[in-house]
Amino acid sequence: MHRTGELYGQFQTLEQQKESATLGMWIFLVTEVLFFGGMFLTYTINRHYFFTAFGIGSNTLDIKLGTFNTAVLIMSSLTMAMAVWSAQTGKKALVTGFLIATLTLGSVFLGIKVVEYKQKFDHHLIPGYGFDMKYRSQNPAPGDDLKEIALEKKEVEEAFAIDPDTNAHAQLYFSLYFAMTGLHALHMIVGAGLIIWLIKVSLRGRFTPQYNTPVEIVGLYWHFVDIVWIYLFPLLYLIDRHR
């Protein structure tokens, strides 16, 4: 393809090229909105029917880790936005620095997610064979907060009194939890890959005030993933905390 400097042949100006690329990214994000929208819809309908099971399922999630992770992700959005600003103002070293910060924060988020998933395996809360909402309160591990366990036991018993099929319905909650957070994590992994590529290009000093479209576009993607989490966090972690 014919190219003059950073300007590809089909465009007249760098600005037109950037606007086209950004518009293309937004159109992709529209499809992503509808993609995640389907999952949020499934979640809404099932939560409406099986409110009790969704409530106790949600209460087993670690709210401290969840809140911390939300802050980490918002922080990574800030560093990503700052990387875009650094590129626009021609601060080449800062671009690389902020991209590395974003990558680090993204990795912290995924690491914490791994810890949370591991807890769910330990507590027999993976949908499928061996799933049991009562498992954790009946088999407390050494080091568990006994007061918290007692509270969970009471909650689970109450739920089973209202809905004898709690185990079946809580599996729906956890299926949705793993599908939605898993899909979100997959998007984060793709984003991390894109940022690694940006860091490589940035180290060669390619991003300038005239040409920084890749940083801008990956930024759009990264912020979108942040928005998905902004909705996932209250919907999955905070359903029924006010007992």
């Binding site: 819809l41 942040d226 966090f233 905070l238």
Partner: protein, 110 residues
């Protein structure tokens, strides 16, 4: 073709938005532990929507984007609204059919 010159958002704005998002997160966690009855979910989603709007407008530069990009964003919200409203209204109005499909015991609610 340069009727729209690039707008550079200053770091001060970014940091202000970041602080607003952190405050919003704290607020939503606090609100989740209060009993507002049926309004808990409304408050949670309201705060999430304000946070998402801030991210779209400032971090994603939607406020400074060309009109056609803004149109695409509005379309996304509109299509999502169509999908949610039509499907949910269908579920709302088909209760009897659904309860015949699933056993009545499958429809427990507090």
């Amino acid at each position: 073709m340069s009727e729209h010159s690039e707008h550079i958002v200053s770091p001060v704005v970014y940091i202000a938005i970041f602080l607003a998002l952190i405050v919003g997160t704290g607020l939503t966690v606090w609100a989740a532990f209060q009993n507002f009855g049926p309004f808990n979910i409304v408050i949670a989603l309201g705060i999430a929507t304000i946070k998402a709007t801030l991210v779209v407008l400032y971090f994603m530069h939607a406020r400074y984007s060309p009109r056609r990009t803004q149109l695409v964003i509005v379309c996304a919200i509109f299509w999502l609204a169509i999908m949610l409203t039509l499907t949910l209204s269908d579920y709302q109005t088909r209760r009897p059919t659904l309860s015949r499909l699933a056993s009545p015991a499958a429809l427990y609610r507090v």
